[in-house]
Amino acid sequence: MAGLTADERAALLDSLRRLLADRCAESDVRRIMASETGHDAALWRALADLGVVGLTVPEQHGGAGLGAIELELVMEAAGAALLPAPLLSTAIAAALLDGERLAALAGGYSIAAVAFAGRDDWTGRGDVRRDGAGLAGTARFVPDAAIADTILVTLDDAVFAVAREDAEIVPLPVFDRTRRLADVAFRGPATLIGDGTRIAAARDIALIGLAGEQAGGARRILDMTVDYARERHQFGRAIGSFQAIKHMAADLLLEAESATSAARDAARQVAEDTPARAESVALAAFACADAFVRCAKDGIQMHGGIAFTWEHPAHLYLRRARSAAQLYGDSDHWRERYVRALEVEA
């Protein structure tokens, strides 16, 4: 896995941000939200061409060969823009797959959704089990399943790949329409593609990517709120000159910066596979979830009436924050896991 220099990393992020500004502005997000699949194939193609779709795919399979650190930074930018695209699913899949499947993934030609269905995962997500050589049961709330050609399923000690036509995929009506979910029912056919050895790494990628998305979203809604507070005048003053608003903004900055620090630290611990890996991933999971929800919530309050309208983007961030806070286990779950990790050390 080749690392990037600081300059290369900055250049990559810069290109991504320009692409997102251009092709994933608020109007694009609303258009994609309103579409049936919630997916914009042209945007996906552009992301693949930029190299971020195959970001963590090894170079020999056509990817950029980068790791958790770069993924986290990319997801910050994606989260800031509310990018509705299967970027995180792809990164998780890349951690589970091998060979040709990886090349198709990196090229943007194949989309794989991932259902974590092991006992050690967050709870309440279905009842998938082995059925002969294949799978039975239903995986619930699987991101991007309705646009995927392949569903990857992780059990405790095995990874299966299921072709789209071998599963029954029921798209769910979702509150955050920038992240589509589906229930996936299995009817037998499934290909065993790995033992359990890669699952922990894939789970960490999921959590780090989501944490980055949350940190980026938190920071963006905060920036939007601060901009508004500088411009909006009431009582003859910018509302940001009132302590009520100013002090809320200061508190939110602490939350958003802490989320960023937590997400980046978790990425580093995972990339370097340190003993603090489990601890730092758990910390990022709840710190970033809570920060994003709080920044989005308070951001609406600080905007006042204008953010109570559908046309204002603030509620899109709150919707995203709420979906992110539940996707891979909620904050109470991760706080409990955090203490479990600390207990080992203390």
Partner: protein, 395 residues
């Protein structure tokens, strides 16, 4: 008249007149509710605290409550409007004698639809910064501007309007208060889509609309004072105005709704959840106890500082209840739509909580009011209080 005599009279009148419904088409004419309300009005029960020569009976508050209780006991509407009818009370206090005679009886019978035309895109928390203008013409004023957060505007006959009539004095001193006729060219109503994906409110675009001279309430340029009395009515009911879940069918009601929901979700045994249930339910119960105590103290003639806390308290209650609902549902809260009523509720309540924490004065404004009017803390220096409005930066 003794309390007992009054009670006998109102009960006898209800026995003779109330048919158990005011909206049943068979028992009444074309607009049965208005017909009933007119009857209540003409019998002097609508506003018994008002003078006896103007629809009332000049009753003291305690006796007026006897009337209200008698109406409530049989479920009849229309009594106690001297406490609850914002429009009629505002008109009684501030309208010209002629306009008052015309409009008040209609308002008491609910024959005219009303809406509020206060807030503007550039004047939300700071209502005195309105830029809607009313320019004097023959026989009245011509009004132009834009209003927001207006509910009921489509069906309203009049809007209670604040507009600027003098731009060369400080902002509070150049505002006038009108009953603007809504059904005229130049008044356009557009629904405003909320974050809950509903449209309870409207934007109202006013372009050279006419308001007759007689529809000015209070003195010209004295509208700010009229507005204050009108706002006081609104604020006192805001603590109770919050809506419950949108779905009618999802889970138990009342203080214990969260307990039932936790039980349904299989989380009632979770000690972490139980702590949060306790705290959230407690806030709602405490607010009710506060309100009860405030009412009791008011009845004893003690002035109560508690009343003003209700809206702020309700903000926290609504946001926290929505948070706990989400916690109970977990990943199910990601869904929406009629097939997922619990999720629909959790998400709706999360968003709709802002109706209370922003609407009718944000929590931040509410804390200012409590700090200043209840605790007697000094106001902030106001940079725009004394300069001509033309020079104020707003919006």
């Amino acid at each position: 008249m003794t309390d007992e005599q009054l009670k006998t009279e109102v009960e006898a009148w209800l026995a003779a007149n109330w048919r158990g419904t005011a909206t049943h088409k068979e028992s009444f004419g074309r607009d049965p509710r208005a017909e009933w309300l007119a009857k209540v009005r003409d019998a002097g029960w609508a506003v018994p605290r008002w003078p006896s020569d103007f629809y009332g009976r000049g009753l003291a508050d305690e006796q007026a409550r006897i009337v209200e209780r008698a109406f409530a006991a049989v479920g009849a509407p229309g009594a106690g409007q001297d406490r609850s009818n914002l429009w009629a009370n505002t008109a009684l206090a501030h309208a010209t004698p002629a306009f008052r005679r015309e409009i008040v009886p209609q308002l008491l019978a609910g024959e005219v639809g009303m809406c509020l035309l206060y807030s503007e895109p550039g004047a939300g928390s700071d209502l005195a910064a309105i830029r809607t203008r009313a320019d004097k013409v023959d026989g009245g004023w011509r009004v132009s501007g834009q209003k927001v957060w207006t509910s009921g505007a489509q069906i309203a006959d009049y809007g209670m309007l604040i507009a600027r009539t003098d731009w060369d004095v400080p902002k509070h001193r150049g505002i006038s208060f009108f009953f603007l006729p809504m059904k005229q060219p130049g008044v356009e109503v557009r629904p405003l889509r909320q974050i809950t994906d509903e449209a309870h409110f409207n934007e109202v675009f006013i372009d050279n609309a006419f308001v007759p001279e007689d529809n000015l309430l209070g003195p010209l340029n004295g509208g700010w004072g009229v507005l204050q009395t009108a706002l006081a009515y609104e604020r006192s009911v805001m603590g109770d105005a919050a809506r419950g879940p949108r779905s009618g069918a999802a889970g138990p009601k009342g203080d214990h709704a969260l307990i039932g929901l936790a039980r349904e979700a299989g989380k009632l045994d979770d000690p972490v959840i139980r702590q949060q249930l306790a705290q959230t339910i407690a806030w709602r119960v405490l607010n009710r106890l506060n309100t009860q105590r405030a009412k009791a103290e008011l009845q004893q003639g003690t002035s109560s500082s508690i009343m003003s806390l209700g809206k702020l308290a309700m903000s926290r209650i609504l946001h926290e209840e929505a948070r706990v609902r989400t916690l109970l549902l977990g990943v199910e809260s990601l869904l929406e739509g009629a097939e997922h009523p619990r999720a629909e509720d959790a998400n709706f309540l999360t968003l709709n909580a802002y109706f209370t924490s922003i609407g009718g004065g944000t929590d931040q404004i509410q804390r200012n009011i409590i700090g200043e009017r209840v605790l007697g803390l000094p106001k902030e220096p106001e940079v725009d209080r004394t300069i001509p409005f033309r020079e104020v930066r707003a919006g």
